[in-house]
């Protein structure tokens, strides 16, 4: 990233590097929108009206903005989780499961702690406990995979997928069993509502957006600081780029692999916590499904940079949120949104297409995602 030329101020350099880094994703989005518009035309829809609905539904009013922020919150946390692992050369497909265990544990602490203790816990103690336990659970869940990688060489892709199955089926077992809401009218596999003291309050009266969104932005800044300004961040990136070199440079690679996975899991766990504590106030089977997989897409689109992740998360959130308004206006299937997202990812992943269409010269730089199999 460091330019060798000393001409131009530092801000100008930063701006330039941002605009260079975001050029391909931006053009990918633009191309996807055009291709999506053609598809809408093909199925007899009105692309202008559809996109107008998408924009109105995602940014058109304070309520729309609030709902977009709500969607963006778990996406930012989970996207950061995957991005951090990418920086360390690890492919964390397990955000889905880490998110689920984080949600389950925070819901449990949220509704059961006052019962166990026999008195109402003040929010200043209860809420931090809810967050901390959920985060730790996510960290442990991913840390296991990190340890398997470090000590046995078991590949994290396989192991995170397997841990997803364990997490989701255990969640199903608990929500249908001991953690199920026992009120007589309830037939759904879900926990009781968490106590008021375990809830993250909304920012504005009458809107659902809560302080978790602010926390997500602060966390993104923290991850950026961690990766670029600290020794640990340097070690994570070095292991990600070349573990052999890292080893000869005296870095404890095993420790860094476990730590990277655990940190990644903690972020994913936080995504689950925030959904329970800030929005749903309980956990239910079928809540927060697929966010862990969307997170991979978000990390890719954001090029694993915290700022990129935030922007990509907001984009995905806007699309998911605006889909309702789009369907309301056009009666087009909401699957169209998934298709648009797929187009964007296709163009980002196969950026040669974009570079060819718009005649952009490749600078020869590559973003390290993973070291692949057996690395």
């Amino acid at each position: 990233m460091q330019s060798e030329k000393q001409s131009g101020s530092l801000t100008r350099q930063i701006l330039q590097s941002i605009s260079e880094a975001s050029l391909v994703p931006f053009l990918a989005i633009l191309t996807a929108v055009i291709v999506g518009g053609i598809v809408i035309l093909f199925v007899g829809g009105d692309p202008i009206l559809a996109y107008r609905g998408l924009l109105q539904g995602s940014f058109g009013s304070t309520k729309a903005l609030s709902e977009t922020a709500i969607w963006a919150t778990p996406y930012i946390f989970a996207g950061l989780a995957v991005a951090l692992a990418f920086k360390g050369g690890l492919f964390n497909i397990g955000a889905e499961g880490q998110l689920a265990v984080g949600a389950v544990v925070s819901a449990l602490i949220g509704y059961a702690l006052p019962e166990w203790l026999g008195f109402d816990v003040p929010a200043i103690i209860h809420l931090p406990l809810v967050v901390v336990f959920g985060v730790i659970m996510g960290g442990v869940w991913a840390g296991i995979v990190g340890a398997l990688k470090a000590y046995t060489g078991g590949h994290e892709v396989i192991n995170t997928i397997m841990m997803n199955y364990i997490a989701l089926n255990t969640t199903s077992f608990l929500l249908n069993g001991v953690m199920k809401d026992r009120s007589p009218t309830n037939v759904i596999a879900r926990t009781p509502l968490i106590a008021d003291s375990a809830r993250i309050p909304p920012i504005f009266e009458g809107l659902r957006v809560h302080w978790g969104f602010v926390l997500a932005l602060l966390t993104a800044f923290f991850i950026w600081w961690l990766l670029t300004k600290t020794t640990l961040g340097f070690q994570i990136r070095t292991v990600g780029l070349n573990p052999d070199a890292a080893k000869y440079a005296g870095i404890n690679v095993k420790r860094i692999v476990i730590l990277t996975m655990a940190l990644s899991g903690m972020l994913a766990g936080l995504a689950g916590v925030i959904e329970v504590s800030g929005l749903n106030y309980r956990h239910e089977l079928g809540f927060s499904i697929g966010y862990g997989y969307d997170a991979i897409a978000i990390a890719l689109l954001g090029k694993s940079h915290p700022l990129g992740v935030v922007l990509a998360a907001i984009l995905f959130a806007a699309m998911r949120n605006g889909a309702t308004r789009m369907q309301f206006l056009t009666q087009m299937p909401v699957d169209l949104i998934s298709m648009l997202q797929a187009f964007i990812l296709l163009f980002v992943a196969a950026d040669a297409i974009i570079r060819y269409i718009y005649r952009i010269k490749s600078k020869g730089e590559r973003v390290v995602l993973t070291r692949g199999w057996g690395g």
């Binding site: 055009i34 709500i70 369907q327 309301f328 206006l329 269409i357």
Partner: protein, 348 residues
């Protein structure tokens, strides 16, 4: 680059030409006007073409429009459970007069929205409220009546005097009512015909909600084990799980009985051996409530729609006349209340 500009210009022109068409009939944007009667439908996580309750409810809304009881009808398909409130609000904010929410899962969101939008009538399909909520009419169905009818039919038609039912989880009250109604109907027919019928009813309660309605293999295996014990009529009640049981019965040359809607048209492989289906009349139920809402006569609280049984189709000639007559009498008796299934609304 040049080609690209031309292409984009063409695209813009084409889309403008398309969007210029239309006009005339009232659109969603007229719903805030008092004289335009608008009905919106929010699905549970699922689609309006799911061949199940979302589709039936949407057809009910369309029927209401065809009957002149709605000027504008729109649907929103829920993609994620956290959007329930937002999707309802989409219609509420646009000034819709009636909002239909489909499925038990939307119950809480519907009740909450009723407080936010006091001028909107809410129709909650399959939403049973223990306490009446102002503005909300829960459309429920006497599934036990439908189960009762097909149970009586199965008992009357069985030559081995052994019949079975393969159901989803009994934790869901409608499923439990289907199964218990089936038992009660068989017993009632026994009383009329002086027979003794053994009834096997199995609920798939050993697995989670994600699996209980989507396990056709388990349904088929369970149906086969019932047929090994001599059962010659199988009632499948519970989504794909039940469908598997019905198909297995049809393959073995036994009678299969469908659920929710006339599955003769859906389970084409089993159709020649489909005796009937226990049906919930969701489509006419929704249409009727919308008509009542338009007339201003729809009341708060739980409303019960109708349940019944589907035609015999291919097996029409196999059902004896006295059997058909019995079924008509039972249906009439259940509708006018002279026959009762004695099945409580929820599992005690």
């Amino acid at each position: 680059m040049k080609k690209l500009y031309v292409f984009m210009a063409l695209l813009v022109v084409a889309s403008m030409a398309l969007s210029a068409c239309g006009g005339g009939a009232p659109t969603a944007e007229d719903c805030s006007k008092e004289d335009v009667f608008c009905v919106g439908l929010v699905t549970d996580v699922g689609k309006v073409n799911d061949k199940s309750f979302n589709q039936s409810a949407w057809e009910g809304v369309q029927q209401a429009q065809a009957e002149g009881n709605a000027d504008v009808v729109q649907f929103i398909e829920t993609a994620d459970a956290k959007d329930y409130a937002k999707n309802i609000a989409q219609f509420g904010d646009a000034g819709y007069d009636v909002i239909v929410t489909v499925g038990f899962g939307l119950g809480e969101a519907t009740n909450a929205a009723a407080a936010t939008y006091p001028n909107v009538r809410f129709i909650g399909v399959d939403q049973f409220n223990a306490e009446t909520v102002a503005g909300v009419s829960g459309l429920n169905f006497p599934e036990d009546n439908a189960g009762f009818l097909v149970g009586a039919l199965a008992a009357a038609m069985s030559e081995s005097h052994k019949i079975g039912a393969v159901c989803g989880t009994d934790v869901v009250p409608p499923v439990w009512r289907f199964g218990e109604g089936y038992k009660a109907g068989a017993a009632y027919a026994d009383g009329m015909n002086g027979t003794t019928t053994e009834v096997f009813v199995v609920y798939h309660s050993d697995v989670g909600f994600d699996k209980t309605f989507t396990d056709p293999e388990w349904g088929a295996t369970t149906a086969k084990s019932m047929m090994d014990q001599g059962a010659d009529a199988i009632f499948g009640c519970g989504g794909l799980t039940g469908n598997g049981a019905v198909s297995a019965a049809a393959q073995a040359g036994k009678y299969g009985i469908g659920v929710d809607k006339d599955q003769y048209f859906e389970l084409t492989d089993a159709a020649p051996r489909m005796l009937s289906s226990a049906i919930k009349l969701i489509t006419p139920g929704v249409a009727k409530l919308i008509a009542a809402a338009k007339a201003g006569t729809l009341e708060d609280g739980n409303v019960f729609g109708d349940a019944g049984y589907a035609p015999y189709h291919d097996l029409d000639s196999s059902v004896p006349d006295e059997g058909k007559k019995m079924m008509e009498e039972l249906n009439k008796g259940l509708l006018d209340g002279s026959i009762k299934t004695n099945v409580p609304p929820v599992k005690p």
